[in-house]
């Protein structure tokens, strides 16, 4: 359990202020915000790496506001280049145990078992510069987790990875969290990451928390320009994969089934870009696998482009040009067909 009350951190040219958060034991908590919002500063303040001007931080009921980082029981994992390059993987992981004066005979078993949990046993003898991005990230996780921190702080842990590795690591983070039941505070600017991993999300903008809630709450009633813009840029749904075969899968999103391409099974999220959806007055004969009939419920004018909301239900936001709107004679209440390819459905 982490409690942060009226926290203020002053970096001279940047101010983090009025931060109030209560994070439950074992929660996967996301701090979401654009670049420069102060996400890293917040994490580092929790870790004790920045002096706090006002307010306080409690970890498991103990006030840590003025404690040194080494006394707080937090682990931190940064985005990139975060392993000690001069130490082999094994010694990177045992670094914390040695610093905490863990009895020598316990070090090896603890390192070995953590390496097994993360599936990095074969990497133990390697040197950090020889590891891939995903491998380095797992070693960094092991190094933090082996000290059994009260909270694990992740600073954009997936942002430096290529898309494929990123997706795999994202699933592994969820799995690690499920197995070890560690409290995690994960900062990111990536909304899909937040939706896929977070129990709750705090939106940080310009040094202040503007909204806290479940990913769905935040998406439905965005309280900040950053999220509102994002909410318009993606249709995001939660769903469940059913009738999966050979890469193709049907995803049930509450009454309707969409076709997508994924190896994932069970509960998933999916996103669909508004510009990937075609609108027509009649059903289209095409190679696109998804075709749904709905009613236009809203038309938002954004200058050159128009955002048309089509309620199937659920609501799909579609991006079309002003000219297309005129030619199709779209108005509120009109019945239309929405069509999009299975490959346009991003499942995560």
């Amino acid at each position: 359990m982490i409690a942060i009350k009226n926290l203020k951190v002053d970096l001279g040219d940047f101010l983090l202020r009025d931060i109030n958060l209560d994070i439950e034991q074992g929660e996967y908590f996301i701090v979401l915000g654009p670049t420069g919002a102060g996400k890293t500063v917040l994490l580092e303040a929790i870790a004790g790496l920045y002096p706090v001007v006002e307010g306080g931080i409690w970890i498991d009921g103990r006030e840590v506001t003025s404690l040194n980082p080494e006394k707080r029981g937090v682990g931190i994992v940064y985005q990139d280049q975060i392993l000690f390059p001069h130490l082999p993987v094994k010694e990177n992981i045992s670094f914390g145990l040695k610093a905490m004066k863990c009895p020598t005979r316990d070090i090896k078993p603890r390192v070995d078992s953590m390496a097994e949990v993360l599936g990095i046993t074969p990497l133990l003898g390697r040197s950090p510069p020889t590891l891939s991005g995903g491998e380095s990230q797992k070693v960094a996780l092991a190094r933090a987790l082996v000290t059994e921190p009260a909270v694990l702080l992740l600073d954009e842990p997936l942002s430096a990875l290529d898309p494929e590795t990123k997706e795999r690591m994202q699933r592994e983070l969820a799995e690690i969290h499920r197995r070890l039941k560690v409290t995690i505070i994960h900062v990111t600017h990536d909304f899909e990451e937040a939706v896929a991993l977070g129990h709750r999300v705090a939106v940080l903008n310009d040094g202040r928390i503007v909204q806290v809630g479940t990913p769905e709450d935040i998406l439905r009633q965005p309280n900040s320009e950053f999220i509102a813009r994002f909410a318009l840029s993606r249709n995001i749904f939660a769903g469940e994969v059913s009738d999966a075969g050979d890469g193709d899968a049907f995803i049930d999103i509450g009454g309707i089934k969409l076709m997508g391409i994924t190896e994932l099974r069970g509960r998933v999220h999916l996103s669909l870009r508004p510009e990937d959806i075609l609108i027509s007055r009649e059903p289209l004969q095409s190679t696109a696998r998804n075709s749904l009939e709905g009613t236009v419920t809203n038309i938002a004018d954004r200058g050159a482009v128009m955002y048309v909301t089509v309620s199937v239900p659920p609501d799909f936001i579609c991006l079309i040009t002003r000219q297309a709107l005129k030619e199709l004679d779209l108005r509120k209440g009109v019945k239309v067909w929405t069509t999009f390819k299975a490959s346009a459905v991003h499942i995560f």
Binding site: P69, E70, G75, I76, Q81
Partner: protein, 274 residues
């Protein structure tokens, strides 16, 4: 390979620059090489066996080494502070640190006498503590240190700056005290820069003439009263033997510098590869 092969397109610019470059290279290389190759190996060996010569070389090596060790002890912490902290007047301070490099070295000697001479503050203090200064090994060490320590501080600072501060932060959250984080993370990662800075400092101290000449002409050293090697070279040159008398020792000193220089480059090169 993105580098252009010079011989494939010998345009005018490349040709002119190659000629100019060759001139300056010859200017740098010919005098020392001519000095070395003018003496036979036998002459060099016999010169080295001369008590006056080897005791002066040993004194110079020894004093430069002590200066470097003191420089490490006092300079590395300063370098770390400069690399990690921002404070008012930092740029100015960094400039001040390099002043010894540009000061006339005879002036350095005089300035040191004003502080360490037996009539002055530090000199009196050292005298009372039983440490003499003028014409002692300690004077040689201090003169060498003054002119050479900026090289170590600058190089160590650059080394620490290249260490990602987040590595230290991670070490702290893993339970390491600031001391442990410094000795287990920052220092090992910056050591190549510190080492090459040390070699540079040692070599600069070894070759110092002016400041050492002013504060310590002749110093007692293991029973002898030798002078440092660069001073001995000057004395030999001013002796009746002149240029010829100074030549073998000069060759020896150039050889020592070459060896140190090659060692330095090897360290730096391995650092880049890792």
């Amino acid at each position: 390979m993105t580098r252009t092969r010079l011989w494939r397109k010998p345009d005018t610019l490349s040709l002119v620059f190659i000629v100019l470059g060759t001139l300056i290279l010859l200017f740098i290389l010919v005098p020392p090489l001519k000095t070395i190759f003018s003496s036979s190996a036998g002459t060099l060996w016999n010169t080295l066996l001369d008590e006056k010569v080897y005791s002066s070389i040993l004194l110079t090596i020894y004093a430069a080494l002590i200066a470097t060790l003191i420089g490490l002890l006092l300079g590395v912490p300063l370098a770390y502070v400069l690399a990690r902290h921002e404070f008012w007047g930092k740029r100015f301070l960094e400039g001040l640190i390099d002043v010894p490099i540009v000061m006339p070295h005879s002036a350095v000697g005089i300035a040191l006498l004003f502080v360490f001479g037996s009539n002055f503050l530090m000199g009196k203090f050292l005298n009372n503590a039983g440490i003499g200064f003028v014409d002692e090994v300690s004077a040689v060490v201090i003169a060498m240190m003054f002119v050479s320590v900026p090289f170590l501080i600058d190089s160590a600072r650059e080394g620490f700056q290249a260490v990602d501060v987040r590595l230290e932060k991670v070490a702290r959250t893993l339970g390491a005290s600031p001391w442990r984080s410094f000795f287990r993370v920052s220092l090992p990662l910056a050591w190549r820069s510190i080492l090459s800075g040390s070699v540079l400092m040692w070599a600069r101290g070894f070759s110092e003439f002016g400041a050492v000449y002013i504060v310590a002409g002749h110093v007692p050293f293991f029973g002898y009263r030798p002078v440092t090697a660069p001073i001995l070279v000057t004395e030999l040159f001013e002796s009746p033997g002149g240029l010829g008398a100074a030549q073998p020792l000069t060759a020896l000193l150039i050889l020592i510098c070459l060896i140190v220089f090659i060692a330095l480059r090897t360290v730096a090169y391995k650092g880049k590869k890792a």
